[in-house]
Symmetry: D3
Subunit: 264 residues, 6 copies
């Protein structure tokens, strides 16, 4: 069982005492993803990937994901003015990340992977991690290692070529598009209604952002590119390439653990 929250504490404690035990913390968002999909892909997808990676690694756990993330930006998520999108202030997210790492460290954990599923979270995760590492130094802990990743960065150029035969417009415009929809169709088909997919040209944005947002720049669907080419098979391929890549990355960076200190 990979989910930390589903373990009783004694089982958790014995896992933590295993040398090199690692915790994945999925960081998601509650954000509109078009009329054809639920608002939780940014949390469900990284949680599913973390769980699959954990199953392969053996010595790892998935902590309860963060269901709310940083404010949606127009050029990567449609904008935070959209109904349903429900976001945190930057400082709130930073402090949440910092607090949770502090607790994992107290448990004896020295390896954490922050698995991001929402583009806008990235820098606030970085800041939360920096605050946590700084604080760990204050109590003399110098062997805390943290990986931050966004799962889509593990989709190889080959896979991109395969999935987007007509050309790829970049991850930012993939909001509610082929990638996320395919993954959701594969993982949670009941949360996708392909009959509601809106077919539209990719959104076009100027090389700057205006605040308050001009809502007319976001396609009426809320998606930034159309999901019409999404399929379950593509979702399966994406899942595999991400899980493979992340498992490999984690094995490489966190590899052999001859002896690990778990005392605080």
């Amino acid at each position: 069982m990979a989910q930390m929250a589903e373990l009783d504490w004694m089982t958790y404690q014995s896992m933590v005492e295993t040398p090199g035990c690692l915790i994945f913390l999925p960081v998601g968002a509650l954000e509109q993803h078009g009329p054809h999909m639920s608002m939780n892909p940014d949390v469900l997808i990284p949680q599913a990937i973390a769980t699959a990676v954990t199953d392969r690694l053996g010595n790892a756990l998935v902590a309860p994901p963060l269901a709310y993330g940083y404010k949606s930006q127009q050029q990567s998520g449609g904008g935070n003015h959209m109904p349903g999108t429900t976001s945190l202030d930057g400082q709130t997210l930073c402090c949440t990340i910092r607090d949770l790492i502090r607790e994992f460290v107290r448990h004896g954990i020295r390896r954490v992977v922050l698995m991001n599923g929402h583009y806008e979270n990235s820098m606030f995760i970085v800041e939360g991690v920096d605050l946590a590492i700084r604080e760990s130094h204050h109590i003399g802990i110098n062997n805390l290692n943290i990986m931050i990743l966004s799962y889509w960065d593990f989709v190889s150029d080959d896979t991109i070529g395969q999935l987007y035969p007509d050309g790829f417009t970049g991850w930012d415009l993939e909001h509610g598009g082929v990638m996320e929809t395919s993954l959701m169709m594969h993982l949670y088909p009941e949360l996708v209604d392909i009959s509601k997919i809106v077919d539209h040209e990719p959104a076009q944005f100027p090389p700057y952002d205006m605040f308050p947002v001009d809502p007319s720049l976001t396609p009426a669907s809320g998606t930034l590119s159309s999901a019409k080419n999404a399929t379950r098979e593509k979702g399966k391929i994406l899942m595999e390439v991400c899980v493979n890549g992340i498992a490999e990355a984690v094995r490489t960076k966190f590899a052999p653990v001859p002896h690990v200190s778990v005392s605080t």
Copy 2:
């Protein structure tokens, strides 16, 4: 479908536009609950209750629950020194509550129920709510109404007498005890292993708290009273009394909505 996160944004928007639409926000914790149970009852139980209440009310939604709460206290949760217990600083929790209410208000929501599942959260929920209401006044919104409740406060004296024939020692000592275990056996039997229940006398605490905690005061199991008398039937009864009571309370306080202003 009662889960806000599982709606697409257009469906959500149309629900919010319904006069009197209400959102439940379950506030939980990741906290050890003895060797016989997973660490997530404080979030799963209020989420389940909120979902059941929502099913009855019709015009309500359950937002994604907060999976992490305030620091476990020894006399109500064993203490925050326990492995597995993973908590937030008070200010982080307050700001999370404030931020989410701010967003619901932006969507047009004016009725929120904070459904608490972790005793130690209470005052930080109160503070987060106070900050949110204060801020809503800054933008001229004066019709925001928020209910805060802890589900166990709806267990009637009659039910207590029925479930605890040998006497009831108070909700604080119920940590990992008959109530929570019975509810989990009813709701998530796969997360309870009754063979691991430790039978022990209720914990005894002096009328004060020491920091740092003296770990020897917490029973070795981490539970504050024994769950040995927990049963699935008791869980069902508890569920019913809570769902009934909360549905009634919500109907009473948020009753008729002749016309509601949803403009921000």
Copy 3:
């Protein structure tokens, strides 16, 4: 002389250098307590108790009390909408507690008792203490011990039976009631005008809280139960049972000091 503030600094320094020297910090509030009483019982009572305990212990001091506390809640203090009630944000109170403990630690103090006189303060005191202990670890101090107590928790069941012959409705409804009024009559008779006591049934509250508060749920007097049975004698008894119990608790938990490190 038990009051820290009334010592000159050299006398204070020599007391702090005494092994095991302890500081009481009374944490109160400025809160309406009915038409028959001043608004400061929550600070005067714990200060008086701390002073009396200090007189018995010999090796202790009372720091200047905190005159303002966390926001009054309707079910325990009538609500923060009441005129006169003057409260701090949660974070302000937490930081005040943290800052003062940091300073006592700098002086060489390693034993602090937070004596609470206002129910709503409790969790913010806990958080302030947690922040202070965390920070003390950052400078390598690991022998800081802090007790948190609310004085009424030392009133024994026997005493309750004696003082409330017609039944006891719980400490929360005692706001401005028999306990506080009796203690004030004993300690500060000039601040009580028994002719203004309003005789009313105990307040009745539902098992949840609404924000903003519905003022009609708070009795017009602001008290949650009537003080009509308050007497000076009861105040004296309450004072004795609290002072005895707290002195005993402090002696037990902070007992022998063969050698204490006071260096920072």
Copy 4:
């Protein structure tokens, strides 16, 4: 009775409803003031002055003073390294000021005097006031008026000439010197032990500050100039000149109140 905390809430409410009602908030410190004096002059003196001014004005109240202030600086208070000196972080003090003004405003108060007794508090009081006024604008209140003063600024040059016939070295070096000691001898003779006054030359400081402080620059007594010329008579004169000046200033700035709006 001038002390807000000693009123019952109904009396307070009726006073607040009087047009032009004003609240004094004394802001003090807990700080060493030499071997001959208690550590609370910075709070007792402004409280006494505020009380005396209130007695003359009639339509004013003194709120409970803040007993802790900002960190003592070497050139005005000996330095925050001294034992007994117990200080708050700047942000904590700012937020305390802001919170209390917010509450007075909620009560209907539109006139507040911050009476400072500790030099180092000044700028943090300013910031707290600025935050409070900013927030009051957020709720549409534009008639909040706040005076900030330090009582010694009301000592006229004539009085200085009279009290310091051998020359005056400035208020900053008056820490624990003639002014504060005389005032305490007049107001609280039991808190001064003139036999312990150390006679020394005024402290001499370079035109800069070093952090951490070089303790050798602070006279061993902790006072920055000698109190040997302090007398009760001087205290009485100082008291009169401050009370007269402040009463006059308040009358001038807050003068006629034909009609005042007290609604929030």
Copy 5:
């Protein structure tokens, strides 16, 4: 004169009163940029561009730039472990942005362009802007419009093709590379020493980040791609394309101002 700081206040005031007056706030960093260049290109370049754009627009000013930015990230700036790189916490940067916009708004400004010169600043600028706009709503100001841009986003694909005939590796790897070095050679030739340019392959990074950083992944020079092909002419071309593009964008988004409200 385009620099706000170089105006006297009366001249500034009269400019602000001009309908549509706009302020550019360059947001930079103090960050190592290789052995061949000073550490201030991230602030000097956006300031120079803002000044040039201002000269064309006529009705605009450049506020003093922020000389310090968010922490350098390894994949875009070499990492914050590098000597010389001097960064702010995220919250500090957010609050700085918020505070300055609040002040511009007080002056009557309703149009602000945040001109970013340091990749890592982007999200903290966004958050600061969001906080400022939120607060402006609290005082009833609803016509504040803010543009956020990073100057390199205005370099067209044509220009990229022209300047990088051997292929372009992306803006992130341009740290201390051809773009920044060329611009500095054009703008501040005295701050570039081309003899010290290190010729190396572009840095290669995995699709994730580790904290603490593995310093060996950053090229020894600190640059992420070599500046060996930088020339003054390229700098001039880059300058022109950026100034043209930004001037055009500003004119488009902030165009006609028939009547603007400058009252607060």
Copy 6:
């Protein structure tokens, strides 16, 4: 080259490794200084002085100055209601100071001089420094030494007598007056237009401050005393006395460095 920002990082690193290397951080403001002068004297003057001192010391650097400071106060800067004056919240300034010192310490710097050019900054610099030193202790660094100074405190009484033959009204009223104007005429003559100097009597203020400010108390020019007697020669004299005094102070307090630890 004295400017830290103009060094490449390798040169900076080698300087920092020199025993006793010292960094000056000028802390200024953007504040109206009358109709005859730019709004940046508070940052330009301390930067110029720091640069001159650095030239004499040899082993020191000037970090990029802070261009924005704390809110202008009426009695020392005309008040923060003035157009053009652009200020930070206190906490923002404190955190900026803290963050920058943290970074210098990471580089190996143990000697920092905060050179203030804006009266109102003083206490927030003190607080930022205190927070930085506290944090340095958390990582076991105990040899960090910080000097805080305001340059005008180095103007000797002799110089004052020479420059103000008709009497000196105090540094607070020197806002935009003879001292600052003379220094700017000497250092940046292009930023002063003496034809616009307004000749007026020194401002007169009561011994208290009102918030919101009464604008009529600030002279219409924004200056608190007239600059009509300012001359370039006086500027040169002031510059010399400040540079001499500060160089001497730095040499005295930070003198011989037989061996310094630069490891973090």
